[in-house]
Structure formats: structure tokens, C-alpha cells
């Protein structure tokens, strides 16, 4: 052991070995609940990874601008367990009932999402590339991207980005959606951004649609952030959320320069894609 021996008195030096011995004796018989540790880490880890996957879309395109403006509603709550890289809000309310993953349309493989998206794109717009491999998967997770697509569109005016995200709502989030003002479903916020004072960010459109009970189940949003137009449609449907977004920038970071003069999809075109039943009608085999 390298040590600062010059600074220690004889008593301090004697303490070093005594302290090590004391620690060793005191902790020798400590019982460690290894099985419980592993099981809880795996369960919590999978839940957090799902949460992170859901928030990849939220932080990716259209809401990138919105997040900058109303980050408190989106990411409010506990922020623990996030300094290793996974991001996003941790909603304590949504955690009062453990998240239970259920099979559903949110398990759609990325190739299937790409195929269905391609069929829905308007003429002269095409999906030119998308991420096919999950390079940051957890133990036990497939390296196949499941439930979301992030890719590049080519349009008449130039390239842009597209994201499709299919997310399961927890039982608790669905109950929260029923008891809140109807705009929040767990981590999914369907409220409109507040009035903005930033000259660089402009909310051009924000429209919501509610179901018969008054809960907001759809939001269409168009924002301009530093010259990039972000369009997003988010829909609560069949126990999950369908999210589609596009931007006239192929770079996934704030204040990136536009890659085209206009967005490859209009808000109406994007809404037609997001509301298509091709997403929610899919089910994993065996479910």
C-alpha cells in the first residue's frame, strides 16, 4: 500500500493495521442477501431500461425543444439513479405499483416498424436508414431494437429525421391518467407547452384531443427551435402510447443546424402515420 507515512505519528501508524484488522473482524460474518440483490437489480434494471427506451423518443426529436422549455413537468420528481447515463423523469407516483411488463404492440421489432412506416409514408418520401441494432442492451435483452425506430427520411426538400416509439403504459400510469387532469399518463405528458419567452423557440401548433371522459389521449405539436422544425404526434391507445416525430435536421441534438429547408412530413401526414391502426393492431406471437 502506498501511504503518506511521513505525515503519520507512531500512534497513527499503529492505528492503520489495527483499523484494518478491526474492519476485517467486524465484517467477517456479515451476511449478504445475494439472491435478493440480483433479483431486485434485474427487475429494477429492466424497468429503468424500459423507461429509458421510452424517453429516447421523448428526448429525441420534437420534444427536444419542448423538454428544454417545460422540463419540470416532463422530468420532475425523483432524479436518483441517473448519473450513469440513463436519463429521464422518474415518476414516484408511477412507482407506487411495480411496473409489470406485458406483451403488446410495444414489442414490435424495428424491422416491422420500418416496414409499416414505409407503407404509410407519402409519395416522394422514403425511409433511407434506421438503427437496427441495440448496442447498449442489458443482460438478457436482445440486441434487436424493439419498440422504437429512429431513422432518416429523404424528401423533396432534403433529408430529415423520423422517430416512431411504441411504449407500454403501466397499470399505475393508466390509473394516474384517469385521476389527473387527463394530460399525464405516468411519464407520458400530453399537455401543451406554456407560453414561451425565448426568441429561439416558437410553439407554432399544439392541439389536444380528449376522450369521452375528458382525458387527453392525443397531442399534436409543432415547434421551431433554433431554425429546426419539430413535429410530434403522441397518442394513448390500447394500453400504450404511439409516438411519431419528425424534424428537418438529421442531427439528434439541440441547436443542430437544419439539414433541409422544410420538414419531410407535414403535421397532417405525421398524424395520419401515428393514428394508423397498423401500430396497435400488431401483437407478438404467442400473446
Amino acid at each position: 500500500m502506498s501511504t503518506d507515512l511521513d505525515d503519520l505519528t507512531p500512534d497513527d501508524l499503529a492505528d492503520l493495521d489495527d483499523l484494518r484488522d478491526l474492519m476485517a473482524r467486524a465484517l467477517d460474518d456479515v451476511d449478504v442477501p445475494v439472491g435478493r440483490m440480483h433479483d431486485r437489480a434485474a427487475v429494477d434494471g429492466r424497468r429503468l431500461r424500459r423507461r429509458r427506451s421510452a424517453l429516447v423518443g421523448v428526448g429525441g426529436l420534437a420534444t427536444a425543444a419542448a423538454v428544454a422549455v417545460f422540463a419540470v413537468p416532463l422530468t420532475g420528481g425523483d432524479t436518483t439513479a441517473r448519473d450513469d447515463g440513463y436519463a429521464g423523469g422518474h415518476n414516484r407516483a408511477a412507482d407506487s405499483v411495480p411496473f409489470v411488463a406485458k406483451p403488446g404492440y410495444w414489442d414490435m421489432p424495428v424491422a416491422e416498424i420500418a416496414s409499416r412506416l414505409t407503407d404509410l409514408l407519402p409519395q416522394r418520401v422514403s425511409l433511407t436508414s434506421y438503427e437496427r441494432t441495440n448496442t447498449d442492451h442489458a443482460p438478457g435483452e436482445s440486441d434487436v431494437v424493439i419498440g422504437y425506430l429512429t431513422g432518416t427520411l429523404s424528401g423533396r426538400t432534403g433529408p430529415g429525421s423520423v422517430e416512431v416509439m411504441l411504449t407500454q403504459l403501466s397499470d399505475q400510469a393508466q390509473r394516474d391518467g384517469a385521476v389527473s387532469q387527463g394530460e399525464t399518463w405516468g411519464d407520458q405528458d400530453l399537455s401543451c407547452p406554456p407560453e414561451l419567452s425565448s426568441p429561439d423557440i416558437e410553439v407554432r401548433t399544439c392541439a389536444t384531443r380528449s376522450d369521452a371522459s375528458g382525458r387527453v389521449v392525443e397531442r399534436e405539436l409543432e415547434m421551431v427551435d433554433h431554425g429546426v422544425t419539430y413535429r410530434e404526434v403522441k397518442i394513448v391507445a390500447r394500453g400504450g402510447v404511439v409516438y411519431a416525430a419528425t424534424a428537418n435536421s438529421t442531427q439528434r441534438k439541440w441547436t443542430a443546424p437544419p439539414s433541409a429547408s422544410r420538414n419531410p412530413l407535414t403535421l397532417d401526414q405525421l398524424a395520419r402515420i401515428a393514428t394508423s391502426p397498423v401500430w396497435t393492431s400488431w401483437a407478438p406471437s404467442g400473446s
Binding site: 478491526l22 460474518d29 442477501p33
Partner: protein
Amino acid sequence: MDDTEFERFVAARSGQLYRSALLLTTSPHAAEDLLQTALTKAYVAWPRVRAADDPVAYVHGVLLKAFLSDRRRRSSTELAVAEPTDVPVPGVDPSERLALMAALRDLAPLDRAVVVLRFWEDHSVAETARQLGLSEAAVKNRCLRALRTLRGLLTDSFPTSPRSAR
């Protein structure tokens, strides 16, 4: 890749990680929570843990960061209260552990972290300084202060310790 690799890691390393957590937190319940946090983070970031030069050191670092950030978060809002430090184990005299935990609890969390890194995990001054974001001089000062505090506390409250027997 399946879960087996992570399961093996937990089985092989939880003991040492838990003991470090126990020294840092001085409470079995808090230690379990801290280890749980570290293992969950390791699980989520498993590809990065596997790719690290020293995966074990990586997770020890995660545990230390979680401890320090948790202390920062709590320090402004919580008062320290006495809490049970141990569950008796049949056939084992817990007095040494109780005395050690009580003494460690009297140290500032950062001083406690210095002690754990230097004398439990056997890190050098330079490595301890790097992990804690301190200068080497600060680590030495904190180390000396902590040792002298522990010596006084353990002499008073732990009459059968080897230290007090001299």
C-alpha cells in the same frame, strides 16, 4: 447474451461491495439500499461495465458515487437519527461491529469515504483523491483527521480493542 454473466458477477462480488457499503453507510438497511442502487446501475449499463478495464472497480466506483450523491441530496433536508445498526447473528459477538459503525458514523461522510477507500479497499492516496475529486493533500488531511477521531472513539467505547490494549 443472457443473465448468467450478471448473476455470476453479483454472486462473486456482492459480498465485498456490501461490506464497503456497510462501512460507508454504517447501517445494514442503508447498505443494502446503496448496493441495490449500484447493482441496478450496473445492470442497466452492463455493456459498459463489461467493457471496462476493471469491471469490479467500475462498480465500486458506481457505489461510491451513489453514496456521495445520496449524502449530498440528503444533507440539505434530513437530520441524522439513530437507527439500528445490526441484526444479531447467533453465535457472533456484534460488539466490535457496533463500536466500529458507531465510530464511523461520527465521521463526516467524505472522511468516512476516505477511510474506506484507503484502509478497506487499499487504494493509494492518488487513487483515493481521484475517486473523490479531492487533492492528494486533502485526502491526507482528511485521513489523519479521521484516524485520530476513530482512535479516540474506539479507545473510549471499545475497551477490548487491540488499540486500547497497548
